[in-house]
Amino acid sequence: MSQDKTDSDIKRQSDGLQKVTVGGVVFILLPQRALLWQERKILIVADIHFGKAAAFRAGGVPVPHGTTAHNLAMLDALISAYDIAHIIFLGDFLHAKTARAPTTLQALQNWREAHASMTLTLVRGNHDRHAGDPPDALNMAVVEEPFLLEQLALCHHPQQVGGAYALAGHTHPVIRLAAGSESLRLPCFVFGPRQATLPAFGAFTGGHVIEAGAEERIFICTDDKVFFYPTQAP
């Protein structure tokens, strides 16, 4: 990756938000692990894994409640901070069959009713195939990957799509940041020349440590900021 290309691509805004232009679209990278397509009022999130805690409980693993509420509160916060009309979920909306616990579905229903005019689109992921589509009452459009939108291909599994720039999730990328004796694991966006991977949005999702490829740009999410991660240029 050449340094100058990066610099021309990334405009550091005065409000500290990182922006990336891919597939002819300027995206804002949000530290809440989501992409904002401001022009079209679209929010893109990957791997929210609703009901994962309930699925764990059904399997006899005690996980406290609150993760669904946290996910929804996070969406609410983004909706009120930015003007959003459409949310696209890049797969793994529900975690498992056992994620369809009454309390979880009720919480989703209540949230949906509070945002009745919002357009919701789900690009099916591997977990959705197992868990089944969201209940009809949530009024979501459910589509197969790759879902083409202008010059973008919206997917769950990272892939290359001819003639489009692909956005995907699935791998829950995190980067290991190590300096001196300190070491941190942090969720990140990975932007390659033809495809990007989003960090997992869900509150109860883990991550897999990735190594930056030569052509890739990494953006690290902390609680309130997104950082560009300088991969060592050869």
Binding site: G60, A96, T98, H127, R176, G206, I220
Partner: protein, 867 residues
């Protein structure tokens, strides 16, 4: 002579602590029981030791106990015969004649009824590798005394067919591990299987008692006692500073007797003195200077064990020994916990049969089978504690009457001081105490599910049973209720999770596990041993070499070389949790560093060292070690002062780096981490400063860029004031260290034991994979959504108690306040200060928020990259 008067027997055991024993015994049974044992010992040409008789006498009275004896002293047969004779009267009642007669006359068919009574004696060992050897030793007298008895072992290594056979009918005596015992307890018909159990022997209890495996054993014993109230339990223990507590931990508070084997094994501790002990000693600088002395020692003896403190050190020494003596190829071997089991077993057999000249090893050979051929034990670097030193010494001269000898090989000059201290402590019989875990809820939670599987439990009954285990004697009803809610309701009792069904009470209030999948998963993950996430290392086609931590492998690139298993390897690729390698043809490479276990200098040893320093202040340098370290100490005294048990020495030094403060409390590295962070925190509270911290076992350094006012800091010549106060200690320590990160690391083990995290297993169904999440994720979720979760509290307590040794820190502060203070302004680093300056460990005292921290780390990285 087959019969002796019972009185003679009582005499032989006199002097024992039999106060208050009022058991009614028939003289006849006494006679019958004793005779065959005498007979058997006589046939072997062995003498019965008084302590063996004492154990047998206690056992005949049904008494439980702990036998303190060194290895190779005949302790195994002491407890084994105690258990056998405890079982024999019952045998006789069933028509068995005197066993000696039985051997000669009784047809096997008539003994069938004996075998059908099932399990009679349980033998618990901490190491499954020991099971086979133990079985052989126990079997020997069995053939002569109780031919109808069968003996078997059941560990993680036992084959599936053997397990199935045991499930139909357990042998009369079973050798097992704490984990396999818990698994037996989780069988639905567990109570029936233990219906005829008479006695339990716990071997090497000192190895178990300080760990969660020991707690697991305590809980299993509590369960067995519920089923068999007359159950006799005997433990075997090596020397410890808290034997009485060790006994209580095994048997319950103030229960059972402690029997001391009078035969004290003679132990020699000496040191290889370096030719040129430097006055400036940093970690390991002497290491290879001692190589030729070590090869000489190995050369002189038929078989030597070379102990190192870490696996990487073992790899290095093995490599260097081979380089120094290429002719030893094939005659020396390497043994550590990360090597493949097949490799380790081969090495163990080869030592036993005397085929190896030397083995470089780690604590992996602290325990284990008897290595009779071993003549010599060398310890590279400080053993850090007296108990460990004795344990390792005992690996040589392993049979009654022979002398055990351990020779210390210092890796830096200051370790000579430790060697002198170690000799002093051994001579004075001072040995460390081993703390027993206190109310570990993760083990309890696991045990509750185990018991729910093994026939079920009622809350109030199991509560009482658990409280009879020493580790839970202080278990409060609210803690119990929390644990019950955790397994039965999935968390906080106020919230109902209808989907949660791990342990469910039936209409009679008996808690059971209704779901087969949960039951299977629980059985797969019983146990408290949590391994670091590690990867198999394997040649491209074929042989497995061992395992290395994932973190090390993750940093390797194709073609990188590293030293492992005594060979230089070239990394090729990772595929499905296996790192593939090939032999490297030449060159040098990194040595993997395995996490964990850098033990701090023990309090016992540290105090012995302070005593040696005290003597040195009076010009008294006894013994070769003190003579060799004399130039270093003299210089320290000239430039600064010698710290002792009466004097805390603080040095102040100004250098280009900044302002250094050196403290020498001699309290071990963990306490020094806590103490240094605490002082830095308290100093920073007075005036905003940032300190860099370095620690070792002797002291610590605080380095700041801004000047420190010595007169203001230390106004008096005593260690007083807010700086060294024990007030608000807990809060200050938590605030001063990045306790969250430490706690999160600790939580890994707890999450695994409490059944939150599963270690995957081959062929696991997909549905299980959807239940996998990392411990750190659980940690985050609990902290955010269930901050009162007691497992979080436990993680913090464990960090404070075990990783920061809070109790010892408290004691150290109290001790320091008794010392006088000597502040020396020095112009250059002193012999004690120098190793601290080169110690690479630099801990930033940082309480910055995450994004600031990331920003700073990125800056550091950029700076490093642009160099």
């Amino acid at each position: 002579m087959r019969r002796r008067s019972p009185d003679a027997d009582v005499d032989a055991g006199s002097g024992s602590s039999e106060a208050g024993l009022k058991s009614i015994r028939s003289k006849r049974t006494d006679i019958d029981q004793r005779t065959p044992l005498d007979h058997w010992f006589a046939a072997k040409g062995w003498k019965i030791f008084p302590f063996q008789r004492e154990v047998w006498k206690m056992a005949r009275q049904g008494e439980s106990g702990l036998l303190h004896a060194s290895t190779g002293s005949g302790k195994t047969y002491a407890v084994w015969f105690a258990a056998l004779q405890h079982a024999m009267p019952i045998l006789a009642k069933r028509g068995q004649l005197s066993p000696v007669v039985a051997e000669a006359d009784q047809p096997k068919a008539r003994c069938k009824s004996v075998a059908e009574t099932g399990l009679r004696i349980l033998w618990i060992t901490p190491m499954r590798a020991l099971a086979a050897d133990t079985a052989r030793a126990l079997e020997e007298p069995l053939a002569a005394l109780l031919p109808a008895w069968s003996i078997g072992s059941r560990t993680g290594d036992t084959s599936g067919s053997e397990r199935a056979r045991q499930m139909r009918s357990l042998p009369s005596a079973l050798i097992t591990t704490p984990e396999s015992l818990s698994l037996l307890l989780s069988q639905h018909d567990a109570a029936a299987r233990f219906d005829h159990l008479d006695a339990v022997i716990v071997d090497e209890w000192h190895e178990l008692m300080g760990s969660k495996r020991g707690v697991q054993t305590q809980l299993a014993l509590a369960r067995l006692r519920t089923w068999r109230p007359q159950l006799m339990v005997w433990g075997l223990s090596a020397t410890l500073g808290n034997l009485q507590q060790s006994k209580d931990a095994l048997l319950g508070l103030n229960r059972g007797v402690l029997v001391q084997a009078a035969t004290r094994k003679k132990i020699v501790v000496d040191t290889l003195i370096p030719d040129h002990p430097s006055r400036f000693a940093w970690g390991g600088h002497l290491g290879m200077q001692m190589l030729s002395a070590v090869t000489e020692e190995i050369d002189k003896h038929a078989s030597t064990l070379v102990f190192t403190n870490t696996r990487s050190q073992a790899e290095l020494w093995y490599q260097n020994l081979l380089a120094a003596r290429p002719d030893w190829a094939g005659q020396i071997a390497l043994h550590h916990g990360s090597l493949d089991r097949a490799v380790r077993e081969w090495v163990e057999v080869a030592i036993k049969t005397g085929q190896l000249k030397a083995v470089v090893c780690t604590s992996s050979l602290d325990l284990g089978v008897d290595f009779t051929p071993v003549e010599r034990v060398l310890q590279i670097g400080s053993a850090r504690g007296v108990a460990r030193l004795l344990q390792r010494a005992g690996r040589s001269g392993h049979s009654p009457g022979r002398v055990s000898r351990i020779t210390l090989v210092p890796t830096n000059t200051l370790e000579l001081l430790e060697a002198a201290g170690a000799r002093k402590a051994v001579a004075a019989g001072q040995v460390e105490q081993r703390p027993v875990p206190n109310v570990p809820l993760d083990v309890l939670v696991q045990h509750m599910v185990t018991i729910a599987l093994g026939g079920g439990f009622r809350s109030d009954e199991l509560f009482e049973e658990v409280r009879s285990a020493y580790a839970y004697r202080a278990l409060r009803p609210d803690q119990w209720q929390w644990a019950l809610d955790f397994v039965a309701r999935g968390g906080q009792s106020l919230i109902a999770y209808p989907e949660y069904q791990r342990v469910v009470p039936d209409e009679e209030g008996v808690y059971r596990v209704p779901d087969a999948a949960i039951a299977r998963r629980h059985r797969m993950s019983i146990g408290t041993i949590v391994s670091d996430s590690s990867m198999q290392v394997q040649y491209l086609r074929g042989a497995r070499i061992g395992t290395i931590e994932e973190a090390f492998i993750a940093r390797l690139k194709k073609g990188d070389r590293f030293l492992f298993g005594g060979r230089m390897l070239e990394f090729i690729r990772v595929h499905e949790m296996t790192a593939y390698v090939r032999r490297a043809t030449s060159g040098s490479g990194a040595v993997p560093r395995w996490q964990g276990g850098r033990m701090p200098l023990s309090s016992t040893l540290a105090h012995a060292v302070l005593d040696c320093l005290e003597q040195a202040t009076h010009g008294d340098y006894p013994g070769p070690e003190m003579q060799a370290v004399k130039p270093l100490l003299a210089l320290q005294q000239k430039w600064s002062a010698l710290p002792t048990a009466q004097v805390l020495v603080v040095e102040h030094l100004q250098s280009r780096e900044g302002h250094h403060l050196f403290f020498y409390p001699f309290a071990g590295r963990l306490v020094h981490v806590g103490l240094a962070s605490l002082l830095a925190y308290r100093l920073a509270r007075r005036r905003v400063t940032t300190f860099s911290i370095a620690v070792n076992d002797y002291g610590f350094e605080l380095l700041s860029t801004t000047p420190v006012d010595i007169a203001d800091l230390f106004p008096a010549s005593t260690v007083t004031g807010e700086l060294f106060s024990s007030e608000h200690l807990l809060e200050d320590v938590i605030a001063s260290l990045n306790a969250t990160e430490l706690t999160q690391r600790r939580f890994r083990e707890i999450a695994r034991i409490a059944g939150l995290v599963f270690q995957g297993f081959p062929g696991q169904p997909k549905s299980t994979r959807q239940l996998q999440a990392s411990a750190s994720l659980f940690f985050e979720v609990f902290r955010k959504h269930d901050a009162a979760n007691l497992l979080l509290t436990q993680a913090q307590t464990e960090v404070l108690e075990q990783e920061l040794e809070l109790q010892r820190l408290r004691e150290t502060l109290a001790e320091l306040r008794q010392r006088s203070l000597q502040v020396c302004s020095v112009t250059r680093a002193t012999p004690f200060g120098f190793p601290l300056m080169v110690e690479r460990f630099r801990e930033k005292l940082s309480t910055e928020k995450l994004s600031d921290r990331v920003e700073r780390m990125l800056k550091e990285l950029e700076k490093a990259a642009s160099k």
